[in-house]
Assembly symmetry: C2
């Protein structure tokens, strides 16, 4: 009788597990499409990611939802464009905003996050690494569906002095346990930091725990070693032919390997969808300390391909056949829809969801026609439909910034396209064929039939899109030094609270 019950329970769990796979999203920070060997980096220093691709499905046409970190991450977790979920600014036209520690806003309670929906469905959720959806207490991960967190709400900028500017706290769940540069070191001279090791251990111990508990999990692994200031742990320093940035890539590649190995050793590999991607294009502004966008134009902050096309690999042994390449146009918002689909959860029906489920793409190679929208702040800069990409607005950044050495397109110059003033091409968009011209160098002739046909189809899509668009309340307009990390949750217990200045809200400045 006991044996029979055990057997039935086992059957139940087996079926239960199979029907609700674990979801593991690996989101890199500022890593470029061209940083992986499998996407052509000449150094070929990512053996584990290349292997992951050869065992799974590679997506060369996968996009983020915004060429900057916070809006991209908000889009991933809500399945919605930043203009809908509030991760944009109206302070100036077509400017990217994010969540520095002066930001007042964050993810709205009205948004439904993937973590919240999966939690309701019985998943155990953990975020490891960077959150970036607002750092005031009400915005933190454990308020939005995550059960566990190790990481930080912001970029690891610093060191600060804790007087005019506090150092960024590191959290364990809903309380700070220390600060960068104080308790969690990043050596700005050598680039040494063991953070990727910590982030990897957090991931593997969570996987082991969940495998033991036989409870499905959602692990959002968001290390930030390739975001400035770039870092790697000691054993990876000076190992890459690419310098420190390459050291960071090598360590992340190694860590991906460790995590995939852990899925195997814990027996859950066949029941876990792993999706690897990045939050935006490589930060070419960082020059040799930034990544590579391969053959694509410009980088982070821009709506050219280099700013928004991301490395992407789906891996799910036994379900996704090895060695596949899918040219499905995908976006980070699809990870929301796909994860819900796999978990058997209905997506919210009371709002527009921009993601689509890639489940059939993973399993049967299904291709779905869908547009990709390239937003920069509050402006729809460009749209891709099939191979055609129409730019309505073009610019990289201002002349003033360029003169200060801030260049999002170093070594690149396409007349009228990589412009330093906002060029409005709404009435006659600049159209590229990304198959023949992935580098966006040769605009189609507006008099050609091909141009006319592409323009009509895209304008139709834009019309429908705009008709269906209710912008969320912009979260990235207001800044205030009083909201900085003076007294994060948990600081009292540690006796590490700092004294904030009086509130003095001001409109955030978003130069690009």
């Amino acid at each position: 009788m006991i044996i029979l019950v055990g057997f039935l329970l086992f059957s139940f769990f087996s079926e239960f597990e199979c029907s609700r796979p674990n979801i593991l999203i690996m989101l890199m920070d500022d890593m470029g499409w061209g940083d992986l060997g499998v996407f052509g980096h000449p150094s070929k220093e990512t053996p584990r990611l290349d292997q992951m691709a050869s065992e799974g499905m590679l997506f060369p046409d996968f996009y983020t939802a915004n060429p900057l970190c916070s809006p991209s991450r908000a889009a991933l977790l809500t399945g919605r464009l930043p203009l809908r979920n509030g991760f944009y600014t109206t302070n100036a036209h077509a400017r990217n905003g994010y969540t520095p520690q002066e930001i007042v806003g964050g993810i709205s309670d009205r948004e439904l996050l993937l973590s919240e929906l999966l939690a309701l469905a019985g998943y155990r959720n953990k975020i490891v690494g960077k959150w970036h959806l607002g750092h005031q207490a009400q915005y933190l991960p454990l308020k939005h569906g995550f059960h566990e967190w190790f990481g930080s709400s912001n970029c690891h900028f610093g060191p600060y002095n804790d007087k005019s500017t506090p150092n960024i706290p590191v959290f364990r769940n809903d309380e700070m346990i220390g600060r960068y540069y104080e308790d969690f070191q990043i050596n700005r001279t050598t680039g040494e930091s063991n953070l990727t090791i910590l982030f990897t251990e957090e991931a593997t111990s969570f996987i082991k725990k969940q495998a033991q508990a036989q409870q499905p999990f959602f692990l959002y692994w968001a290390p930030d070693a390739t975001h400035a200031p770039v870092y790697a742990s000691r054993s990876f320093l000076d190992k890459s032919e690419r310098g420190l940035y390459g050291d960071a890539v090598r360590e992340l590649d190694f860590s991906v390997g460790i995590i995939l190995d852990t899925l195997w050793t814990t027996g859950v590999a066949n029941n876990t969808l792993v999706f690897f991607t990045s939050d935006n294009g490589a930060a070419l502004v960082s020059k040799i300390m930034g990544g590579s966008n391969g053959p694509f134009l410009c980088g982070k902050e821009t709506t050219f391909e280099g700013g928004m096309r991301e490395p992407a690999i789906a891996w799910w042994p036994g379900t996704i056949k090895p060695g596949q390449v899918s040219h499905q146009l995908g976006t980070v918002m699809d990870l929301f829809s796909t994860a819900l689909d796999l978990a058997g959860v209905e997506p919210p029906s009371d709002r527009v969801i921009d993601g689509i489920s890639l489940k059939s793409t993973f399993i049967d190679g299904k291709m779905t026609d869908r547009p990709v929208f390239y937003y920069r702040g509050n402006e729809l800069m460009a749209v891709r439909l099939g191979f055609y990409k129409a730019h309505f607005w073009c610019w990289s950044n201002s002349w003033e910034e360029l003169k200060q050495g801030i260049d999002f397109c170093p070594g690149e110059k396409v007349e009228g396209i990589t412009s330093h003033q906002q060029m409005n091409y709404t009435t006659q968009p600049k159209i590229f064929h990304l198959g023949r011209d992935p580098g966006e160098k040769y605009t189609l002739n507006p008099k050609s039939k091909e141009y006319q046909k592409a323009k009509s189809a895209i304008l139709e899509i834009v019309k429908e899109h705009k008709n269906n668009l209710t912008p969320g309340k912009p979260q990235l307009n207001w800044c205030d030094k009083a909201v900085m990390h003076w007294s994060p949750p948990g600081c009292k217990k540690l006796k590490r609270c700092l004294t904030p200045p009086s509130p003095k809200p001001y409109l955030c400045s978003w130069p690009h």
Copy 2:
């Protein structure tokens, strides 16, 4: 007794075969480093080449000897830099010359070609496709060690009128059998031509014949579908997302697959070294009808990485272990030295050979320190040593040409580097670290220790190189309309001879 002799003969041949493998060099025409999936082309349209790489050894740091076709091909077959073997011009400084049908010169009898040396060692040699080492009778392949030829001495430009300019002949061995656009069609409107099919059939039938004859072979497979005017056969037209250029790449990829399959089916795969590469960087001047140089700067005609770094794969089942990447700096001239090494032939000792044998690299992954010299015509433009590349001269092409729309670096602009006048940096070379900066965008600071160290090491190499350099007689100085293809060998038999004009030599014009 008969059985015993048979057995002994078989043993002898087996050993003989193993010690002298077949050599198959696949040389593409204007194909870029970034055109292959394995080197990161977003279309991922080269499944057979990607498979070849996964079964063999990939060389991301492999170079040609000149950023233009004829000198590159002369270097491959002689193992010597074009400045030594005569494939350069002194008509103007730092200009690339080649062998159009007006050229008077060609490969000198004083050069020893790989084909000649392998013929002496008992190999059967065939060239399929483009020769490009001179087209007057004394320069043709069968005068230089090849036993068989199907292809042409020149580019497939045309159609011409056979009055002011004759169409280019196609040869079978030492006689013409027809002309392009007359007997061998290339549809300039649709891009259709079945030439790649013919070149592939020539390769496979030769392999079959040699496998049957149990005689080692050297097959130099040099199709030209990716050189302007680009073409593909009917079943490949409109198949690529990249347009006609991509169709040509797909067909070549397919053909590579057919040839490798033939090595397997004839039982000689394990005894054949196959090396795939290209003659120079992608012709970016052709815009969307040209290839991709991936993340590298500029293209064909230039001595930036995009002009001279080539896709390269070594394949030799059972000898080269699968799935390897070698960062050995290699050059097309190494194919000369490597082939001789594998055939057990001593390289000529009476002249400088610039190639090195890659045999130990193939077998044991051995790395050899060696420089790469970037020549443009008669000028040493740059040198790579380790990761450091020093430019002594920089330019892409002239302002006059640029104004005519001839651009070797479209969409790219690096101050002082992609210049339109010849910039002399001999006293203080522009130095790049190609590991951290493969795109040659960020010069090292001349005041840095790193710069000083790299400069000293490279200048030492240059001094040694120049001390040891005896230029060959320049073959690319003189042109004459009288030497055009009016009456190629074999024309009488076909009654297809045309009447040449009177000889009127003139200095060839080499604008870039």
